[in-house]
Symmetry: C2
Subunit: 335 residues, 2 copies
């Protein structure tokens, strides 16, 4: 299996990307295809003694900056590592694409270079978030600030298939993020989406208030990208806030430092549980080929896990399964 990787995406590129690819090739038996400036890739590998043996390199001289208008990926940055990787994926010269570069550009590229699956209205960003139940899948985590009910219904269906096929969650509970549990709560968007999800081929558990997300009230949390992005970032911020407060508490004196030693293994377990790097990246569900967005601050391990995830995405034939479920959704809702 060939996983195409954007060697120049993310805060620690290309070093951590190359390390992650090298680890993934060894552990998972995949072949990595590196996109980016060939000289720089070879130099970085050599200087850091990273084996890139068996990896193909697709030369792409440019890198699209995170702050750049995402649509420039199609023209000004058509020679960037991300654009070249996506084109290669579309041409069938690889099975999946992983990038830690600009989210906006990757959404544009997944939609317009790789193209959407048949009938899919929008590509959505599906992010796994740790919670009391282990984790839940948030979709859309920020690809589409403005959404229509039909898009949200498709997000629910695609997220459900993804969790089942890739994470082994049986009959995932799909919830709609809303400001109350009752069917009559929310704006027009939530009211209409509720009706569609009731008819959809998923285990719809109704509206879920944001309070229930960390407490594990659903497995797939459906939202427009604005709300989803607020949920994702607030969760990150709360995690940071709590861990800083805890650290201060433990470091405040001799007694508390002793206390910290006694609970260290528990703290480490919790830290691991909250670590996004374990879960790989966020797939762009709805694209016609597997595209995975790795976290911008990914290190080698996070890249390795994102590549493992891409491999599983292909192996489990998630896209065919999604297509089947989306057809059922269409029939059942006449949309």
């Amino acid at each position: 299996m060939k996983i195409i990787v954007d060697a120049f995406g993310g805060d620690h590129a290309p070093l951590e990307v190359l390390k992650g690819c090298s680890m993934a090739q060894q552990e998972y038996g995949v072949s990595c295809v590196l996109c980016g400036d060939e000289d720089k890739i070879r130099k970085c590998a050599q200087e850091n003694s990273i084996s890139i043996e068996g990896m193909e390199i697709l030369h792409a001289p440019n890198v699209i900056p995170v702050e750049e208008d995402p649509t420039t990926l199609l023209k000004e940055y058509a020679d960037s590592s991300m654009a070249v990787g996506l084109k290669t994926l579309k041409e069938g010269k690889g099975d999946a694409f992983v990038s830690a570069g600009s989210t906006g550009a990757l959404v544009v590229g997944a939609s317009l270079i790789v193209k959407r699956m048949k009938g899919v209205r929008r590509v959505g960003l599906a992010t796994v978030i740790p919670n009391a139940n282990g984790f839940y899948l948030l979709m859309d985590a920020g690809a589409n600030a403005e959404c229509r009910p039909e898009m949200l219904a498709q997000f629910g269906v695609m997220g459900s298939v993804y969790l089942k096929q890739l994470k082994g969650v049986q009959n995932p509970r799909v919830g709609l993020i809303n400001i109350g549990a009752e069917e009559t709560k929310g704006l027009e968007l939530q009211l209409e989406t509720y009706q569609l999800l009731q008819k959809a081929p998923v285990n719809f558990v109704g509206n879920v208030e944001a309070r229930g997300l960390p407490l594990g009230e659903c497995d797939v949390a459906v939202a427009d990208g604005f709300t989803g992005n607020v949920v994702l970032k607030l969760t990150e911020g709360m995690g940071k806030f709590f861990s800083t407060e805890l650290k201060q508490m433990f470091m405040s004196g001799f007694k508390t430092k002793m206390g910290a030693l006694l609970v260290k293994s528990g703290l480490d377990d919790f830290k691991k549980k909250m670590d996004y790097k374990e879960h790989g990246g966020a797939p762009l569900l709805g694209a016609s080929c597997p595209v995975i967005k790795a976290h911008g601050s990914s290190d080698a391990r996070a890249f390795k896990n994102a590549i493992r995830q891409a491999k599983e995405y292909v192996e489990n034939d998630v896209i065919t399964q999604m297509q089947t479920s989306l057809s059922a959704l269409k029939e059942q809702t006449n949309e």
Copy 2:
């Protein structure tokens, strides 16, 4: 000063309400006016040996249920403890009103019985949330699911005045909750609100991503009620999630239990910091008289603090100050 209190609002009414009023009368030298079924109030006070001496009782035989359509407050539930209290406030027979009853009904009552301040488009729920900086004020926390930019600009102005007058925050940093820091981020609502807040008589610090809220990036966080409600409830849920995980960690064995003892005072401090009960209730800013929503699960201490807050609201003449700032907003934005 007379504080009118809904004796039948909240999960622990009337017992905890009466206790809270009794404590508040002693500590703050206010007079409480109790609204609700007179017999039940007297019986509860007697059975629990709570002194209600010096408290006026306004008989109201009914209670509006939390799950009831909020607008029924105006007709079917016009004889409820909440409706009677709000009418009494409007008639000038008291200085402020405190209720832990239905939020929706209280918003309807504050808008249509007490009425809005001149020029105010919507009454908003302003909630104090603990964060790394101490706390921030979220407005609107859920009174208006759908908002116009002019409403959000007014929320920013009112929230800023409230924090300055009541919490002594000098020059509060007002931020707009958005999905990116750049001026061009967000939906139409955020784009237009950004322009209005730039001209408003507040210390506008621009867009704030949800990640920055617990980390203390602003003092007043402005949002529509849908987004605000998601922020409020996710914050609650994350707090619950973390505290449960921490407890499990500390209780998992002998060693960790010893560890817990060593950090106990730190844990207690943190718990206190995160405790909403310390901050009283959420004022409905924009109403022409002070109306405070206490948390549904309020105990005596929470009611006492909400009454203290109502007293400070009156003493600091927050409403006159808001009116002045709102006039300035109108002039500066031509809205």
